[in-house]
């Protein structure tokens, strides 16, 4: 899919989920065929697609990259009390595994940092929360992998080792 179409689609859906989020349990389905999240290159254990956006890497045997695994952990500490297990949504907040795909990296990032609200449906801002901000790429690629159906529900079975570079970034960020 071309970047142009993707952007149009993303902006249309950024507007939509605000009203949809009040309903929750709304499905916002993702058709993986319409999204290209394939790995273009790898850098010190981090994976990126053609647009230099972080993405997941799932090997033939199901082994996931470190960030996807780490995202699973951080999501289930910081996000799941509203958005439900495995990004599946809840009676309280929308199915964020699909939002991650529809919104794209930059809008997703923006909403997590700054939050947003619509009446009684409010996404908090996490911009000053190191437990979220230091792992935002992790959470994003994990949710995208879920939304694209690249990994099943539950804890990833096996994972790549954490690279030294990722460890250094984490230490620097968490202080």
């Amino acid at each position: 899919m071309s970047t142009g179409i993707r952007l149009t689609l993303a902006s249309a859906l950024v507007a939509l989920p605000i009203t949809a989020s009040a309903q929750n349990w709304s499905d916002q389905p993702v058709d993986p065929a319409n999204h290209d999240e394939a790995v273009a290159y790898e850098e010190n254990g981090r994976y990126f697609n053609e647009e230099d956006v972080p993405t997941y890497n799932v090997a033939e045997d199901g082994t996931v990259d470190w960030l996807t695994f780490s995202g699973f952990r951080r999501y289930h500490a910081e996000c799941h009390v509203c958005h439900g297990p495995d990004g599946e949504g809840s009676s309280y907040a929308p199915k964020v595994k699909n939002s991650a795909v529809h919104m794209g990296y930059y809008d997703f990032y923006d909403v997590v940092v700054n939050g947003r609200g619509n009446g009684n449906s409010v996404m908090p801002h996490f911009g000053d929360n190191p437990n979220v901000m230091c792992y935002l790429d992790d959470i994003y690629v994990y949710l995208k992998a879920r939304g694209m159906d690249a990994i099943p529900r539950g804890r990833p079975g096996s994972k790549e080792a954490k690279s030294d570079a990722i460890q250094e970034d984490e230490d620097a960020c968490m202080g």
Partner: protein, 599 residues
């Protein structure tokens, strides 16, 4: 010094305000009303009304319904006092006064203005467990921690006071306890590093009478080191700080969002404290007193008479906030004043509520596995402590290790959904969860007003059982035994009601109101309401006819955790996704349904 003066003025007011208390006691004693969320000060949720009974409950019909206008988790229940029914909603916490003498016409409506920023700091949905009545006032404790006293007749604001600070994660979901001349309130925010407290305000004008923190210096937690006891021994000095490392007690959790009970003859009120913050136990060494503790405090001064810490150094998020049900029963040939508590940790405790002596501690779901049981030997060094099974210890397994197959899950074998008691049968009727978990703690840093969790967990229905996520059980608190157990597809997240008609009512997450035979558990009636039920069933009598009422509106922890269904990663690929998704059964709602028998 200031605190001392406050205490003294509180005492002075006491004598003059005895009338207010008498009023509520009289209202509660009248079985045609439902004057307090918990049914009575004992939290028995038992009604003497018996015109709906075993023989005729099968004929029950819907009498009328009322939409609350809010689509969120509806916990708690309406009150009925005199000719008026008071109905509350989740955020934005609307209160409706419905005129039962005029076909339920809205007499008045109160809708507070609250900053929506409070919504995302409420862990697990914007629920509210209902209003309280005393002295011609309706008490609303809003999500943003403002406590408002409304004139019960016209809904005008008589006073309001702010109990906490949402910007550091302090919020409210609980009802309040009006007792004597005070209204006693709690605080939520255990997942935000809040230091829990219970606060008494004077009913007359909203001035603060006392505040008791769950941890901290002795003057903060209102103990007398010599006379406040833990299992019969004095707690000693600095008991609220000396089981914490450094100043971690300042963000120690132990929030107080459950149900409160009171014994006027002993002049004590009872409640439990929640989990210590964070969920990563390695980050907070020590017993973390007085989180996870049953507390008995003097109503007038807040001073603690006794504590019992059920889960020292919590490793699983087993908040101790569930209700304390007060009964008078014979145990070992002696009539005693008892307190029975069904804890999140899967143990049901029976205690002497005057002395704080532990009498019974037994599992009320056989799948509970994190402990092999509580040490009941008063001579033992570990008296009163649960023995932790190493395999399920998230502390012993350590940070960044996934401990699997722990039962119960963090939801607890029971959460706040209150149980009921049948004094004739001496039987407790208990809504329960039947869910287990994997739990992996890891290091987190604290930021004020931000989640302070530090663990990842996955939940799934109890393995090798009936496949459902709940049971509705009958419990014998003297022998510590399950008498009967009805499997439920989903967790039972609705407070039960037991009546002199020999029946017990509860709601289910699919939306059914069910009536069962209290003695046998046999299902006698069910009706599908518009949305999942996490509210509590209540009853009242109007024009000589008994009514049953319940709020529908799925949500809360149950709506979040179970909406998409649960999977068990240990089951292998075939079974993943095989469990029921709540979203296949119900959608959001907000409705009161009132039942009665046909003429």
């Amino acid at each position: 010094m200031k605190k001392l003066m406050l205490l003294t003025s509180g005492l002075a007011l006491c004598a003059g305000m005895a009338v207010a208390n008498d009023d509520l006691v009289q209202q509660m004693d009248d079985p045609t009303q439902w004057a307090i969320q918990t049914g009575d000060y004992k939290n028995q949720r038992y009604s003497k009304l018996d015109s709906i009974n075993k023989e005729n409950v099968g004929d029950l019909q819907v009498a009328w319904t009322f939409s609350t206008g809010v689509l969120r988790g509806h916990e708690g229940s309406p009150l009925v006092v005199g000719d008026t029914m008071y109905v509350h909603t989740p955020f934005p916490n609307i209160v409706y006064a419905l005129d039962l003498a005029d076909e339920g016409k809205i007499k008045w409506k109160y809708e507070p203005k609250q900053d929506p920023d409070v919504i995302p700091v409420m862990c697990c949905d914007t629920v509210n467990r209902g209003v309280a009545y005393a002295d011609g006032k309706i008490f609303l404790h809003q999500a943003d921690t403002k406590v408002v006293a409304l004139n019960a007749e016209d809904g005008s604001v008589e006073w309001e006071v702010v109990n906490g600070d949402p910007s550091i994660g302090e919020t409210n979901t609980a009802t309040v306890l009006p007792v004597k001349d005070k209204v006693i309130v709690g605080i939520s925010g255990g997942e935000f590093g809040v230091r829990g407290h219970v606060t008494a305000y004077n009913i007359s004008d909203g001035s603060q009478a006392w505040r008791a923190y769950s941890m901290g210096p002795d003057e903060d937690i209102l103990v007398d080191p010599e006379n406040t006891t833990h299992l019969g021994e004095p707690v000693g000095e600095n008991s609220g700080t000396n089981t914490w490392e450094g100043d971690q007690w300042q963000i120690g959790g132990g929030t107080t969002w459950g149900w409160y009970s009171a014994d006027l003859d002993e002049n004590l009120m009872y409640y439990g404290t929640g989990n210590p913050s964070t969920w990563n136990p390695s980050q907070r060494p020590g017993d973390n007193r007085w989180s996870m503790t049953i507390m008995a405090r003097d109503i007038d001064t807040g001073e603690a008479k006794w504590f019992y810490q059920m889960t020292p150094h919590d490793e699983w998020d087993y908040d101790g906030v569930n209700e304390m049900i007060l009964t008078e029963q014979e145990i070992d040939g002696e009539e005693r004043k008892l307190l029975t508590h069904f804890d999140r940790n899967g143990l049901a405790y029976t205690m002497d509520r005057v002395s704080g002596e532990l009498l019974v501690a037994e599992k009320y779901d056989p799948v509970v596995n994190w402990t092999s049981g509580v040490d009941m030997d008063p001579e033992s060094d570990t008296y009163g402590r649960p023995e932790v099974v190493a395999q399920y210890s998230t502390e012993q397994n350590g940070e960044d290790v996934n401990s699997t197959g722990i039962c119960p899950a963090a939801l607890g074998t029971k959460d706040q959904q209150p149980a009921s008691y049948d004094p004739e049968l001496e039987l407790f009727l208990v809504p329960t969860n039947h869910v287990c978990m994997d739990y992996e703690p890891f290091r987190v840093s604290y930021t004020a007003g931000q989640p302070y969790v530090g663990a990842t967990l996955s939940m799934y229905p109890a393995p090798d059982s009936h496949g459902g996520m709940g049971n509705f059980i009958a419990w014998d608190n003297i022998n510590g035994e399950i008498k009967w157990s009805n499997p439920e597809q989903f967790s039972v997240w609705s407070g039960s009601l037991t009546t002199a008609g020999g029946i017990t009512f509860y709601g289910t997450l699919e939306g059914y109101l069910k009536a069962v035979d209290t003695e046998t558990g046999e299902e006698l009636y069910k009706f599908r309401t518009p949305s999942g039920i996490i509210g509590n069933v209540m009853t009242y009598e109007r024009d000589g006819k008994q009514h049953i009422a319940v709020l529908s509106g799925v949500g809360g922890w149950a709506g979040i955790g179970l909406a998409a269904g649960l999977t068990n990663p240990n089951d292998g690929l075939g079974a993943v996704g095989g469990y029921a998704a709540l979203s296949d059964y119900t959608a959001l709602g907000g409705q009161l349904t009132v039942f009665t028998l046909p003429d």
